[in-house]
Symmetry: C2
Subunit: 167 residues, 2 copies
Amino acid sequence: MTPSPTLASPTALQSLRIGDVARLVGTTPRTIRYYEEIGLLPEARARPSGRHRLYTQAEVERLREVMRLKHLLGVSLEELKTLLSAEEARAEVRAQLRRAGVEPGRRRELLSEALGHIERQLELVRHRTAELGKLEHELAETRKRVRRRLREQDEHHEPRPVKAAAG
Amino acid sequence: MTPSPTLASPTALQSLRIGDVARLVGTTPRTIRYYEEIGLLPEARARPSGRHRLYTQAEVERLREVMRLKHLLGVSLEELKTLLSAEEARAEVRAQLRRAGVEPGRRRELLSEALGHIERQLELVRHRTAELGKLEHELAETRKRVRRRLREQDEHHEPRPVKAAAG
DNA sequence: TCTGATCTTTACGTTCACGTCAATTTCTTT
DNA sequence: AAAGAAATTGACGTGAACGTAAAGATCAGA
C-alpha cells in the first residue's frame, strides 16, 4: 500500500542489529531473543516474522538497565518482569505525557501511577541496601577484632618478623 | 571396639537432626544434603554412612549465614563456596587459636590469613552496597522529578480532586 | 547480482539448584 | 520387641535461563 516516500530509509537512524546490541551490552543474541520471548523486553517493533530485528539506542539502554537490575537485585526474570512493569508503564506514561493532548485528570492519574511503581522499586532497593549495609558493618567489625588480635600478638611477643620491608 | 563410657550420650548435647535444622533455618533436608554434597557445608562429622546426620547449634548458625549470603549476594553456590573458604578458614583458625599451644609465628600467620579472607569478602560486599546505593539514589531522583511534575500539575490546573480526606 | 556474514525460527541439549519417589535403615517410643 | 516417625542413599524429574546446532532467509557490500 502506498509506499511512503524516502522518509526514514531502512539504514538511516542508527539501527542496530541484534548482534551489535549483544556486543554493546555484553551478552548474546540468544539472551536478547529469550528476554523478548518471555516478555521481559518488548518485541522489537512491528517486524514481519522472518525479518531481522532492529534496535535503537534507547532499546540498548533499556536492556542495560534490565541487566543491571538482574545483577543487583538477583531476582528471577519473572520477578524482574513484574518489577519492570514499572519501567514499561513509565515509558508509556512518558509517551502519553508528551502528547500534550491529555486531559489533566488522566495526566494526573498516569503520574501518580508511575509514582507508585517507582516507590515500590525504591522500597525493594532500600531494603536490600539496608541488609547489605548490615552485613558490611558486621564484616567490618570482625575485621577490627582480628586486627586488634594481630596487634596484640605482635606487641606482647617478639617483634613481628618483617619478611620484606616494603618500599 | 571399646565402647567409650557414657561420655556424651547420643541424645545429650543439643543434637539436632536434619529435619530440625531445616525447620529452624527455613529450608528442606534435601537442600542441606545437597549443600553438603557439593562441599558448601562440611560433611556432618564422622558418620558411618547410613547413620543419621547430627548437627549442633553452631552448624545451624553457619547454615543461616550461608543462606543469608546467598540471598544477599545472589551468587552461585560455586562462587559462594569460594567466598566461604574464608569462613571455613576462619573456623579453622578459631579452633587452632583456642588450642593455646600454637607458636606465635604460626598464630600470626593464621590471623593475617583470616584477615585477608575477611577483606576480600568485605570488598565484594562494599562494591555491591555502592552499586545498590547508586541505584537507590537514581530512583530517589526520579521520584523527586515525578513528584514535582505532580505538584506542578495540581497547582496550575484545578485543585486536586481529594478523593477522601484521610483522618 | 552474487556472496559471505549475520539473522530467523525450530528444537533439542545443558547446568544449576534443588524436588520427588522408592526401597531401606536407623531412631525413638511404647 | 514392635511399630511408627524420620533419615539414608540412589536415581530420576523439573523449572529457569540460557547454549548450541541445523536449515534456510535476509542484509550489506563489491
